[in-house]
Symmetry: C2
DNA sequence: GTCTATACTACGATAGAC
DNA sequence: GTCTATCGTAGTATAGAC
């Protein structure tokens, strides 16, 4: 599919060089087609950029489907199970942050986090909102004494532990004395995230 | 100082639009000078970019001087004091991540985290290395049972909690239902980070 | 040291053949 | 639906006046 090939190349290029820095000529060339195909299929460079946001949201939603199902129905879940579900979701997120595959669209999203455009709206309402809302609700079962606003803050901080593995990847690698995050490093990091998260959920905020 | 004015404008522009996206013309114009001044003072666009990295490293080092002093001499520090110092440093970092002033150079650094260039070397050896090494050593006093590699992993994860406030700023704001992180949100977030960090240091990893 | 003027390249968009 | 050709604009770098 030409459109898909263009989208995946574009996400890579937009992530690597930014919106202004990426060139439609190069995106087309790397996709094995002519630049005017972008105009034809997406209207303009900006149209392509927004289509990338939708594409990313869909892909993430697919990948997080198990986690979203986990929080879909909270009725009759006890506190211990809620804690365990939280740990699973955070670990799930950590795996994605470690995975090299997340590099391309992570950079795309990071850029939007700093100065959001229409593309951020599509990402947020396409997948982020449901993840944050769902996780906060689940967290409420694990930490029943926290106010709603505190739960939302805690959600973001908990994700932050895993996010750093992508957002500050180069520093993490340096700190661990490695070139990239292989299986050994992944095991170490996920284990620590689990221990930390358990302490947060059962110690400090219980 | 013309050079300083150019550097600060450049950091803003490089952060906002990326290396390729930022234009030397615009940087010069916003600094109130001609574009050829950049060539004269920094050699080229790339020279300006690298000079920005050095400038950022120096600025951060200034700002983190109290924290770096804190970890300079660990002799005769007891465990309780080490925990308290860790909490102070993490809070210090959180304040910087919340501060709007960090936005410009944070974007610059984030870009380098994803695909490091020579500029990352200058940032890392200019300030990051000392911060990570120092904090890991301090953490070793707070959590004496952890192996050195685990301490380094834990350091990065602990910073991650604060980093998310800058790296995923737009999502954090949405989650908290606010347009920006004001005093009220800052108080809430810092309090939670402190509680979480205390739980991590004394509960899960003690 | 800072300016103007200019050479050269690459960009996004569009028109029109097929 | 995909291509080639081309237009107008904006980029970096450089040369040379002052």
């Amino acid at each position: 599919m030409l459109q898909t090939r263009l989208l995946e190349t574009a996400i890579e290029q937009f992530g690597m060089h930014g919106f202004e820095g990426a060139s439609t000529r190069e995106i087309a060339r790397a996709s094995g087609t002519a630049m005017s195909s972008i105009t034809y299929h997406f209207g303009s460079k900006e149209g392509l950029y927004l289509a990338c946001a939708d594409y990313i949201a869909t892909r993430i939603r697919e990948r997080h489907a198990p986690a979203l199902d986990l929080v879909a129905d909270l009725s009759g879940i006890d506190r211990e199970a809620a804690v365990e579900h939280c740990l699973t979701i955070i670990d799930n997120f950590a795996v994605i942050m470690i995975d090299p595959e997340s590099a391309n669209w992570a950079r795309f999203i990071m850029r939007e986090q700093h100065s959001p455009t229409e593309a951020f709206e599509r990402l947020y309402h396409g997948v982020m909102k449901d993840m944050i809302d769902g996780f906060s609700a689940l967290l409420g079962r694990a930490c029943p004494d926290l106010a709603p606003q505190e739960l939302r803050a805690l959600s973001m901080l908990a994700f932050g532990q895993a996010l750093v593995l992508r957002a500050a990847r180069a520093s993490v690698c340096r700190a661990l004395g490695t070139d990239n995050l292989g299986e050994e490093e992944a095991r170490l990091l996920r284990a620590r995230i689990r221990v930390n998260s358990l302490a947060i959920l059962t110690g400090g905020n219980a």
